[in-house]
Symmetry: C2
Subunit: 204 residues, 2 copies
């Protein structure tokens, strides 16, 4: 079956966003990344800045899930309404809605946000994972993203951890587990345009 939707999950510093952009450009299809933050913000009535800052901050959310699990197990009378959920949960649900709706509109590339999992029942989705070894990613973050040497290790550890926890919290799947993807590309050796060419070949 022809693949119309391309989801890209990526490790920090692996250049996944750039590869997604190049792919969307080459195929002349829509590209969704930060635009999904705006869509979620509009949906739940919060400023985009608040949503961007809160997106993938999960400590309270994980505690919440744990608490609800406990409450439901005993005598909680009803499911909470969306507006009663912690903000991180509200954002996830609003982004999920935006992802499902945009995938219906037509061919597109979607970056991150568990889109591979959210769209798992569609058969026309190519699920891509972009990765590289730690040193390659660090070099790219310093050289191309302009990050500072003194912060880089701490920042990379935090972002990697945040993405992993976010994914595993909402999907019950293991982040980066190859069985969740159709195609994994190592950008330590393959350059971004080559990766985009490979993805285009995969959906041709």
């Amino acid at each position: 079956m022809k693949k119309n939707i391309i989801t890209i999950s990526r490790e920090y510093g692996s250049d996944g966003r750039n590869i997604g952009l190049l792919t969307a450009k080459k195929l002349d299809i829509e590209f969704y990344d930060k635009e999904l933050i705006d869509a979620a913000a509009k949906e739940i009535g919060f400023p985009a800045e608040t949503v961007a800052a809160k997106e993938q901050k999960l400590t309270s959310s994980i505690l919440y899930n744990f608490a609800v699990g406990t409450i439901y197990g005993s005598a909680y009378p009803r499911e909470p309404k969306p507006s009663e959920l912690p903000l991180a949960e509200q954002i996830f649900l609003a982004q999920k809605k935006a992802i499902i709706e945009r995938a219906k509109r037509g061919p597109c590339v979607i970056i991150g946000r568990c889109a591979d999992y959210i769209l798992r029942d569609r058969e026309d989705v190519l699920r891509v994972f972009i990765y590289a070894d730690y040193e390659s990613r660090k070099r790219r973050a310093l050289k191309e993203y302009g990050e500072l040497e003194e912060n880089i290790d701490k920042m990379m550890r935090e972002i990697d951890k945040k993405r992993r926890i976010h994914y595993e919290n909402y999907t019950s799947q293991r982040w980066g587990d190859r069985d969740n993807y159709d195609l994994l590309l190592n950008t330590a050796l393959l350059d971004p345009q080559k990766c985009a060419d490979i993805i285009c070949e995969a959906v041709r």
Copy 2:
């Protein structure tokens, strides 16, 4: 840098050999799989059948490595000659020699046999890993390889384990670890010709 050599590691039932064949055909380059058994047999002076049967049988070899490690640590007077090594070790060394020599001859596809690791110092190698979930591989083994339902689970477990142990014994790397590969393809969703097309695009 242009990739001239394509190494294909694969899980049993993922159709990796077929994908390698299709790739070699499309690129019009050499294809090495069982031919490496013959080369090794010739090198060490054993019949090809013996080499094929013994290839990747590792119990004695692992014990041997352990023993040599111990002996070398104390008072073993010299490195053993190749002909003094257990047969599995002799086969590995002969195949290693054949792989290095064939890679020097020109562009080719090499199936299995730790070729990704053996050729790790060459910069023109594309390292591919072909995989699929257990049920997809089992379906393919029953339908396309003609395996019998009553044996299949035991056989798959044994072959998967054998490949993993063989690889990890000779490479000190983890079998299937994405950092050892440039490109991973899931054949649960991508068909063999599509996989070959993707690999060809990667080396174009």
